[in-house]
């Protein structure tokens, strides 16, 4: 194997599993340490720079970082139920406990740079573009058909998960930068917009169309059958405040989970979720399913809706065919009807939550924006530029429905592209991230970070009493971590950004690091092909998604291999190293944002 090139930003970035997995590459361990130090304003600020909506995301993020978190792997076979750090809910701790974040809030330049950008839709992707560009002097105007901004954050995510005050606050920071949001304005023609004096247009219009179901009885019982996302937004904007006693929710994604839990709060006593496939294959996150079940909502699986039963238009129930999984000769998975009789679930109303679609009826076919067969725009996947070089897409409008943090990540990249376009630079040349690697040594065995490893298991977020929670949709279910729980949870973080850096010429091969390492990460052995090396490390290395850190040849001709997989970043290797060949250095990476400093960078 070749010696590892630690100068390449990706190498250590990958070691910070959470940051690598976060679409916006939030420097997670840094903000967790700040929380542990009680510096909530600073912790919030780091989040605000990276993900723009820390308070919102701290309650609602899809948290791709958590399945990636190293803590889950190191607790494997050490704890009954290995669990990642509660990265997401710690974000909320920063948001809830900050006292004076405004002092850290940057302001937009006094004078604009004379460039004008239009954003369609006021969802998280557009708001991110607007924030990044207004900070460097652009004049940004956002158009949204809804009365209030924030897109689906406001219209879809129910209040019991996300209080409106949090949305207002975080949209407020962006408006405070001078971004103009024109609410209640629907864009009906992209062409017309392009004819105005905008230097670029960002389309952050989301995936606004809920998929319908076409089975017998759909038209007749239409009054009692609602499209999930339309119904949720009617609830959010106060047009709907009640539902019947017996409700069936069709679908297994997060919309279905929000529909059923909302129904429970608006009068639904017997709310049932029914999915076609298996419980485990549901699109909703495990915690969303847990939350629904916890609120007394059964989830029935392997049932395919066949008919809506009604009495002259008055809904009576839904009939389902019972299916099972079979694999055909080619090994393809199929749902096949069983011998069982169809099952009827009596109900008064149905919420259909079986998917979302994109729709751009307002984009003229001759305005230069080409579309794929899927109905999605043809885009460059890194620059988000469409076939009309002045038009960019992001969020759910770009590649179909995803989530808030992806919308934010798209927004950052699109903002860079727009800035480069407006500055006359090549849009496809991308600026590199800001990277820093600094020793954390303070004394012989003292580090700037707390290197002791906590044995605490993941803390549960306290909930409000269910009787109260189910009575009022505005009552936030989660109370959030209190101070003690927050500190315990923060200490579970392994500080994966504090890297073990090895300087081969200093090593005297005394074995001290190998001997002390609690996780058997370090091996001195002969070099060879990666597969063979992984076999003969001190602890057999099976997780090939994690890199091996490889040194150059040492005095004895051997090579130092460090398996990054389950390193605790405890720094004991560096403490036991007599020559300082090992050092603990903090790797801080901030992705490039739109701005003058990076305009000409590669």
């Amino acid at each position: 194997m070749k010696p590892t090139d630690i100068a390449s930003p990706d190498y250590f970035h990958k070691v910070v599993d959470c940051q690598w997995a976060c679409p916006a590459h939030t420097p997670v361990p840094e903000y967790i340490r700040l929380i542990a130090a009680g510096k909530f304003d600073e912790a919030y600020s780091i989040n605000w720079v990276s993900n723009v909506f820390p308070g919102v995301l701290g309650r609602t993020c899809d948290r791709p970082c958590e399945p990636a978190c190293r803590r889950g792997r190191v607790e494997e076979k050490n704890a009954e139920k290995p669990e990642p750090v509660a990265i997401c809910r710690l974000k909320r701790v920063a948001a809830d406990n900050k006292t004076n974040f405004e002092r850290l809030l940057p302001s937009a330049p006094e004078k604009t740079n004379g460039k004008k950008i239009a954003c369609i839709g006021a969802g998280p992707s557009s708001l991110t573009v607007a924030r990044d560009l207004s900070l460097i002097g652009y004049e940004v105007v956002i158009f949204d058909q809804d009365k209030k901004s924030a897109g689906m954050i406001r219209s879809q995510i129910p209040r019991f998960r996300l209080p409106e005050s949090v949305i207002d606050e975080e949209v407020g920071y962006i408006e405070g930068l001078g971004v103009e949001i024109k609410n209640g304005v629907r864009i009906d023609s992209l062409q017309a917009l392009l004819e105005q004096d905008f230097d670029a247009v960002f389309v952050g219009a989301g995936a606004p169309r809920g998929r319908d179901i076409q089975i017998e009885g759909r038209a007749e019982a239409a009054k009692h059958i609602h499209i999930g996302i339309d119904w949720l937004s009617s609830v959010s904007f106060g047009h709907v405040s009640k539902i019947s006693k017996r409700v069936v929710v069709l679908g297994g994604g997060n919309t279905a989970m929000d529909c059923c839990r909302t129904a429970r709060r608006l009068g639904g006593k017997e709310v049932t979720v029914v999915v076609r496939s298996g419980f485990d294959e549901m699109k909703a996150s495990p915690w969303e399913k847990e939350d629904a079940i916890h609120e007394g909502i059964p989830i029935l699986n392997y049932r395919v809706p066949k008919r809506f039963l009604h009495d002259k238009g008055k809904l009576k129930g839904v009939e389902f065919e019972i299916v099972e999984v079979r694999y055909d000769e080619k090994g393809k998975r199929r749902l096949v009807p069983t011998e069982d009789a169809p099952e009827v679930i009596p109900c008064d109303e149905v919420l259909v939550a079986i998917g979302q679609e994109n729709a751009f009826p307002w984009i003229e076919s001759d305005c230069g924006v080409k579309f794929l067969d899927s109905g999605l725009p043809k885009l460059n996947p890194t620059t988000f530029q469409s076939t009309n070089k002045k038009v960019f897409f992001g969020g759910d409008a770009a590649f179909g429905p995803k989530n808030i943090i992806w919308a934010v990540a798209h927004g950052h990249e699109a903002a860079i592209s727009i800035d480069r376009l407006c500055s006359g630079d090549s849009v496809s040349d991308r600026p590199s991230p800001d990277v820093n690697l600094i020793s954390q040594k303070m004394g012989i065995h003292e580090w700037t970070y707390d290197n002791d490893i906590s044995n605490d298991l993941r803390n549960k977020v306290p909930l409000v009493d269910q009787k109260i929670a189910l009575k009022d949709i505005k009552v936030e279910v989660e109370v959030g971590f209190d101070f003690k729980l927050a500190m315990s949870e923060a200490q579970r973080c392994l500080n994966c950004d504090v890297q073990t850096v090895f300087t081969a010429p200093l090593c005297i091969e005394c074995d001290a690091c190998t001997d002390i390492c609690p996780m058997d990460c370090i091996t001195f052995t002969e070099n060879g092909p990666e597969k063979a090396v992984r076999e003969r490390l001190t602890a057999k290395s099976t997780n090939t998604t994690q890199d091996l850190y490889v040194s150059s040849a040492l005095k004895t001709g051997r090579v130092m291999f460090k398996d990054e997989d389950v390193c605790l970043h405890c720094g004991l290797c560096a403490e036991r190293c007599p020559t300082g060949a090992w050092d603990m250095r903090k790797f801080y990476l901030q992705t490039a944002k739109a701005g003058a400093a990076c305009q000409n960078a590669k």
């Binding site: 065995h445 005394c510 001290a512 609690p518």
Partner: protein, 351 residues
Amino acid sequence: MTFIAKPKLRHPELQRNKHGFTRRDYEGAVSTLCAGCGHDSISAAIIQACYELELPPHRVAKLSGIGCSSKTPTYFLGNAHGFNSVHGRMPSVLTGANLANRDLIYLGVSGDGDSASIGLGQFAHILRRGVNMVYIVENNGVYGLTKGQFSATADRGSKSKRGVENHSASIDLVMLAIELGATYVARGFSGDKSQLVPLIKGAISHRGAAFIDCISPCIAFNNHSGSTKGFDYVREHNEAVNFLDVMTPRDEITADYAPGSVQEIKQHDGTVLRLRKISEDYDVHDRVAAMHYLQKSKAAGDIVTGVLHVDPESPDLHDTLGTVSAPLNSLGKKELCPGKSAIDKFNAARR
């Protein structure tokens, strides 16, 4: 030393032995020795050897004298018995313990100062008596704990950290051990665990006085150029005569070696020591030839390592004394106080 305890978390793939223990369960408290001290590597090798031999830690007794080396029993086998005795006096305490309870596994840990200076007499007598034990000297050529004075194993002509030359002749503990009748004698190096771990396993499975001289660089006071006990010097002059595989009765014995290149020695407990010869003419059974070879190599400046002498058939101290086979603490009042008539008979036999 480090300020934090070694984290409890361990590698998820660590295997458990028949007692349900992983290697980590054979550890002790976190070391307070200097970073990089060879002694810590020897502790790690002992941990590995005990784990691989599946020893029940509570059946092991660790005894030591005074010195950095003698501190190390605290850092391995936290669940074993331990006795940190007086400078140079580990052998007599170990002998007494062994006489009282022959069922424990005895591990004497000492330093070159502890064994070759103040404790040289004790060292000699425990070996010649054939006490069933493993005696490890963690040999760094200095008194580490008292800040690096030359010890009696420092080679003539080697230099201290401050450049002062040693004019006294050195004591070669391996030569002495063979001379004094130790029945398993080996030399290892803390910087080569692939060699050291089997040497320790072989010593533990040996019945009788097993002695290991383990060169163990003192990072703080004896790892400079001019030292003959530093990492670089030992690596340059290391001449292994054989490579040992230890096969317990549980291990499947495979035979995939060229005839004549391997020597197998069956130990008392059924363990087989398989020696892959590196030096063709070295015979571990021949004491006189071994001593001759060692003298010659020493004169040539080589540090001979490996298994240097084994005699698997010799009696141990209990055999020669004809002591009772059960540990004294398991004897009842009847055995311990056999009554007047038994005493009278005993005395009569001596008149």
